[in-house]
Symmetry: C2
Subunit: 236 residues, 2 copies
């Protein structure tokens, strides 16, 4: 089955967590909105809601007749079909829990640059962004990083499930990569305390399929329109 | 099996979505942090992380040896065990998708009052709150409400799955109830356009076990420490 992924074509955003899983799985998929006439195909789903169960927002994945939205929900569905999570229920529940924790972390990282809402331009809310970014770097970032570092320390083996690789490792890789782009100085300062997350990042990046993906034009570069944005004044 | 729910004892918050499901199911559970010495029992999990797979934050549910965190993840696990979701996989994926959409909506409702981050007092970020709340009421609230109203219109039958009641109905009830508390004027203005969500709210409230729960001291009243807070100036 050829999957159809629907997500904004010019950013990594939430869709990137799904792209990484599809790439690692070697799945047959098309990134619909990046094709000619792809954006109308995406917006048709959202605006006209032609399907019986319309998604509220991208990303969503079409798998045969099924249309699945919400990043963590897509991964929950995809992972067991492609060997990206163990069979045992307890492990699946735990991986999904970590993915949802990463989703919360992502919202907090995102909200540093438009804390008053995405409808406003960054330039119109700079004082608020400065305040929130300072709080994020000083309190929230170390809290989330520390949590995942402790998990890696506990499990040994290098992955979040110890010696078993899973999709949550891809997601943690993406968080570290994105945060290094957006907050290079804060991440540099915190680096000595999080050697295991850094090692996981490098191990993911060097996996055969992921390395090929990262070197390909399919990997959109981080940019100032995505969830992770670099504003030097927010990362003093 | 007696479940143990761990959540802050003085607010509805995210834990309320789990409480509603447990109550509707007639499940045997204790709300640990509301018992004597319950709060230390909760914080021990978060601070000492004694378990193999520590949650990042409440709510979490202890079910035998399993400790499950993340509201939507808890409901995903609980619902099929208590008849709160159909057996068919497609229905479960769809209900989880709606629950995660509600979780996003909840974050946006929450962030109207402390948009710069929960670590600051509302009084210190009033201008930001005014701006964000105006955007929420004018754009985001109608967008989310409209989405769920269209789903109910499409499905007929009165529930999000048509004639089949599910836990997502409990969660939509909770959103309507909370938003009416926090934004009574905005919700009043929008009411004519959302008769089905209002009808769903009333039908849920009159279900035998939910009605008994809402009338009991187990239901914590909405208050100014929870996710839904009423500031008259944010709801002009």
């Amino acid at each position: 089955m050829r999957y159809e992924l629907y997500y904004w074509p010019s950013i990594q955003g939430r869709g990137e967590f799904v792209r990484l899983a599809l790439e690692e799985a070697g799945a047959d998929y098309i990134d619909v909105a990046r094709l000619p006439r792809g954006i109308p195909a995406l917006t048709r789903f959202i605006q006209d809601e032609p399907e019986g169960r319309p998604p509220f927002a991208p990303p969503f994945l079409k798998a045969g007749k099924l249309v699945i939205a919400q990043t963590a929900n897509i991964l929950l569905w995809l992972a067991p079909r492609h060997g990206l999570v163990p069979r045992a229920e307890a492990a699946r529940v735990w991986m999904h829990q970590l993915q949802l924790t990463i989703a919360d972390w992502l919202v907090e990282a995102h909200d540093t640059h438009p804390p008053i809402g995405g409808a406003f331009y960054y330039e119109d809310q700079k004082p608020e962004s400065l305040r929130r970014a300072a709080h994020f770097s000083a309190e929230r970032l170390p809290k989330f990083l520390g949590y995942f570092e402790r998990l890696l320390k506990r499990e040994k083996g290098g992955w979040l499930l110890g010696r078993t690789f899973s999709y949550a490792d891809l997601s943690l890789f993406q968080m570290v990569a994105g945060l290094r782009y957006a907050f290079p100085r804060a991440m540099e300062r915190l680096a000595p305390r999080h050697p295991r997350s850094a090692a996981l990042h490098d191990r993911v990046a060097s996996r055969t399929r992921i390395a090929a993906y990262l070197a390909s034009p399919r990997r959109i570069a981080f940019n100032q329109h995505g969830i992770f944005r670099h504003y030097p004044e927010l990362d003093p």
